[in-house]
Symmetry: C2
Subunit: 326 residues, 2 copies
DNA sequence: ATGAAAGCGCTAACAC
DNA sequence: GTGTTAGCGCTTTCAT
């Protein structure tokens, strides 16, 4: 692979001059510029960004740590992150942390070793104290990581309220929440709180069922089947859309009709769900806006490591009404 | 951020020694090792992989160029790639090329500039001659890129045959194929050919409808609606599962029953579809195996740029039978 | 068992 | 308008 020196030799100038041409810096004669450009073309030259970054420049690399990209919600989020970051000249290193805290720690070390300019983190793992001392700009999605790390999230509390309202409005009397395991400090808990608080107004009964985020769809389906077979609930709020899909599936299998026998509200409202399951009433998170805010904040910190930021940035959610609460 | 020299000073040894400790190289006394390790811990030291790579080492970075990760198929594929590569000590730079050839070219340049060790590419863009001269190990998924680049794919031809068989077996008489726009040199065409060839045996009629891969679900839905309203077909093969979902949606809206009025076979068989749409008959691509082969080949080329590889690696597909062809 | 010194490819004063 | 030089943080001979 050609180096700056190769170009310099071929163009008959010094390395500095080539560097100047590349970075469009200082004053160059048209003649040299042309010569250098030609040489670059001829050797199919690409400046070694490793060397560049070594000299103190940014790497233009951002680490993205999320549970995993096979989930449509995070798939869309990563796509959005990649898209917006690309336009600003950054690339991303994708880190699927899954539910493996050790892997997440490894990734954190690697990202430090690679001198990424910053990190966007939104995994579900807890107790990773390493976040305290990465010494790199970090923005978190929807999780508390450390006191210094700003959290961007949608308005989970209001989302919970909206879900409750939709269920109540549709005439449900015996309500059920199906949610991931209860993580302390997680803004996601607010979905629950909002839901409960809203219900207090109407004095209705409800139950909470927790199913680990990392359980397989089969396991989740089983638990849902158990729940539904009792035929005791007529309104369900799932704190994510995929679980809601499972409820529809199991209800159908049990001969229960949605929404006649049981009403249903999901959460997330990805493009995928909106296109392929428009029947589902759900609370839509503004993924694009969330990402925009995260990137904005992150790049601010990249430019100035010590710039002051709020602890929390909360973006509005929206209820999308489908037939499952008709 | 601490450097090797900082550690050397703190431990009271030379930089060379620290380097030896890090790389577990040459002969070291236990005493020095301990001192150095302590210093590293104290300063939360991470070796600068940029500097390391500059010295001729590999970057342990692999570029992954795909249409986009918000599609469940590619989402699962990327997740699989990331997973398998992580275990071998590599990280990935994610490049969503979308349907933007210029973006793909940009990414190619960036990947060269970043000195990634290799590239896995499976975008849908055509006419990117740059692949000819990247000078980096590349493996392609399901697309022809250049004569030197091996293609790994599932057995598209047999997949087409299986789809046809399933439809015929279920008693369909007037068949329809819905597929992406016909790209020259794309192994995906084989799905069509396999389907057609199989049909010749049974002497049934069929039509082909092309819908661009990059069309929105709404657009696709519209075309499908037009098609279905004529009520002329009773068996449909979609060359991807998401389109099949759209067919189910439109059929329902038109009051047509699946499979009574129209039978349906999809293609891909992701975990997502298997879990959330088990009713869909589909041809499953062995994503995990495909990725394993791609990575195996890629790493061979990383170790030895000139190692001989086959042009094509074809992995077996499997028909998953659901109720849409019952 | 350890250190000194050169160099990977690039940028940025500092000359002229 | 262009060249010289000194590093960035690390690895790697070659000494000792």
């Amino acid at each position: 692979m050609a180096t700056l020196d190769d170009i310099a030799k071929l163009a008959g100038v010094s390395a500095t001059t080539v560097s100047r041409v590349i970075n469009n810096y200082g004053s160059l004669s048209e003649k040299t510029k042309t010569k250098v450009f030609e040489a670059m073309r001829e050797l199919n030259y690409q400046p070694n960004s490793l060397a560049r970054s070594l000299k103190g420049k940014k790497t233009q690399l951002i680490g993205v740590i999320l549970p995993g990209v096979s989930n449509p919600f995070f798939g869309q989020m990563v796509q959005e992150i990649e898209d917006q970051l690309f336009k600003k000249g950054f690339r991303i290193i994708l880190c699927n942390a899954g539910s493996d805290a050790e892997k997440e720690r490894d990734y954190l070390r690697m990202l430090m070793a690679n001198r990424v300019d910053g990190i966007i983190a939104g995994s579900h793992n807890l107790g990773i104290e390493e976040y305290q001392k990465v010494g790199l700009p970090i923005i978190s999605f929807d999780r508390y990581l450390s006191d210094e790390i700003p959290i961007v999230s949608s308005d989970n509390y209001h989302g919970g309220e909206l879900a409750a309202q939709a269920l109540v409005r549709s005439g449900s009397k015996k309500l059920q929440i199906i949610t991931g395991a209860n993580h302390p400090n997680s803004p996601t808990n607010a979905r629950l709180t909002g839901f409960k608080d809203e219900l207090k107004k109407s004095d209705l009964d409800f139950d909470v069922m927790e199913i680990s985020f990392s359980a397989t769809p089969n396991i989740k389906g089983l638990k849902i089947k158990e729940l539904l077979s009792k035929r005791e609930v007529d309104g369900i709020f799932c704190t994510d859309d995929l679980t809601a899909l499972l409820v529809i599936q199991q209800a159908k299998a049990l001969g229960m009709r949605v929404p006649e026998d049981v009403r249903l509200v999901g959460y997330d409202g990805t493009n995928f769900i909106q296109s392929y399951h428009p029947e589902l009433t759900t609370v839509m998170q503004p993924i694009s806006d969330i990402v925009m805010v995260m990137i904005d904040l992150l790049l601010k910190r990249v430019d100035d490591h010590d710039c002051e930021l709020e602890d929390n940035y909360v973006l509005p959610v929206k209820l999308i009404t489908g037939e499952t609460t008709a």
